[in-house]
């Protein structure tokens, strides 16, 4: 447990000092929102706006992958990753610390992106802000748990920046579908469907357990 807090604290402090990842993710998410609006501007009727909530998740996903790509890149300097692997602690807690740090950063970026998105697509998010934050957090949890595991793998392959999305995106479909369905219902009907939340909760649980257990092997050098 101490290892979890130590890794989380280290990652957050180093991010606070440089703010590299946060700025890169935020600016990138903003660019994605602009590109999405220009590529697929919504019409006026409810039919024409049905795809809008899905676009929000495209921005979240791209920003998340960009941030996760950097999660272990900094650990390669001065052999820090090897030292982490040598630490006499349960490696699952190192994974949790790294995943929670990425999760915290992604939540900040998601909040800022939601504001930009609401302005660009003329949406009133305020009445559903609390429930939207819950869906965004559940989606981010699934993205960060599997993303942290694959980031630790991708960083030690050739073409590391390309490898992470190739590994991550085919497996993220349940998170994406659950989150998009919940956001769709929330923004278009003002309701939060329980089956979509259930799917997100179960997926987060499965991804968390698989990543916690297999991280041990990934760090084995």
């Amino acid at each position: 447990m101490n290892a979890l807090l130590a890794v989380l604290w280290k990652d957050l402090v180093s991010e606070w000092r440089s703010r590299d990842r946060l700025v890169a993710m935020g600016v990138f998410a903003l660019l994605v929102v602009v590109v999405l609006y220009l590529a697929a501007p919504p019409g006026a009727g409810p039919e024409a706006r049905a795809h809008v909530p899905g676009l929000l998740w495209v921005a979240y996903l791209f920003a998340g992958v960009l941030g996760l790509n950097r999660a272990f890149a900094t650990e390669l300097e001065n052999e820090a990753l090897s030292l982490l692997a040598l630490a006499p602690v349960e490696r699952g807690f190192i994974f949790l610390g790294k995943a929670l740090a990425s999760f915290a950063l992604l939540l900040v970026v998601e909040a800022a992106t939601a504001v930009a998105f609401a302005l660009a697509f003329d949406l009133d998010l305020w009445p559903v802000a609390g429930r939207l934050a819950l869906v965004a957090a559940l989606g981010a949890a699934g993205l960060c748990s599997l993303g942290t595991l694959f980031s630790a793998i991708a960083v030690r392959t050739q073409y590391r920046e390309v490898m992470l999305p190739l590994l991550l995106l085919p497996l993220l479909v349940p998170v994406l579908l659950g989150a998009v369905r919940a956001t769709n219902a929330l923004l278009l009907e003002g309701t939060l469907p329980w089956p979509a939340l259930q799917l997100l909760l179960v997926t987060d649980g499965v991804f968390g357990i698989v990543s916690f257990l297999t991280f041990e092997v990934v760090l084995d050098e």
């Binding site: 590994l167 085919p170 497996l171 579908l177 297999t214 050098e221």
Partner: protein, 233 residues
């Protein structure tokens, strides 16, 4: 490998190639002779290729994850070679599934692709295992590639039931024909399909053994080169 082993291997190769060839010819003959479906016409005969290939693809993917798990448990590189070979053969069969399916769909449904539950699941599984092969080829060091590959194959299989519920929830209409049950095929259609299944399993085993031989020869070459480098020092 001694000369005796080499000659035994080449005679095994010859007899297994002949066995597979005979089975494939018999299957092709029975497919040719099978009755034309009264509703769909000749295009229905793609079933005799498509369904056996599905068996080969799923067999390959399930065995990849199982061999990967066994590798993590025993740390014996033979399990890893088996996992890599199963993934390659599985991707080959799945490619055939994804080529034959749309040809049938265009003739029957009038469109190449639909986001049906079963189609989407198969496509996602295909992408997972193509990524698995990319991961292995982009990772330096056989031990590291084996570990990373095993973790990815296990995670890939864990997602299958989640995908099933997710696509179902998203309203993926199931338009794909149901699993073939007893009596769902017309008279004279069972035998060519059964022969197709047998040929697919034989082809799977044949390709798998060939692929394993290649990786064993490659490993032997690596060992010989390492020995030669050591003796020069």
């Amino acid at each position: 490998m001694t000369n005796e082993e080499l000659s035994r291997n080449s005679s095994l190769l010859r007899s297994s190639t002949i066995g597979l060839g005979v089975c494939a010819l018999l299957w092709a003959w029975f497919v040719w002779r099978a009755p034309i479906d009264s509703m769909q016409g000749p295009i229905q005969k793609i079933l005799y290729v498509h369904v056996p290939c599905v068996l080969g693809a799923y067999l390959g993917f399930a065995l990849t994850a199982a061999s990967g798990a066994l590798y993590l448990w025993r740390r014996d590189e033979r399990w890893d070679r088996l996992a890599a070979a199963c993934a390659e053969v599985g991707v080959f069969f799945c490619t055939l599934v994804l080529l034959t399916g749309p040809i049938w769909a265009k003739g029957t449904w009038g469109r190449w692709w639909t986001w049906d539950l079963r189609l989407t699941l198969t496509l996602l599984l295909y992408l997972v295992y193509v990524s698995y092969l990319l991961l292995r080829s982009f990772t330096e060091g056989s031990e590291r590639a084996a570990r990373f590959g095993a973790v990815y194959a296990i995670a890939g299989l864990a997602v299958v039931p989640l995908n099933y519920f997710a696509i179902d929830l998203a309203g993926g209409r199931t338009v794909h024909p149901e699993n073939l049950g007893r009596g769902s095929l017309g008279a004279g259609m069972g035998l060519p399909l059964a022969l197709g299944m047998l040929t697919a399993v034989m082809a799977f085993a044949y390709l798998l053994v060939r692929r394993l031989e290649v990786s064993e020869l490659r490993a032997a070459l690596d060992r010989a080169q390492a020995d030669a480098a050591r003796s020069e020092m």
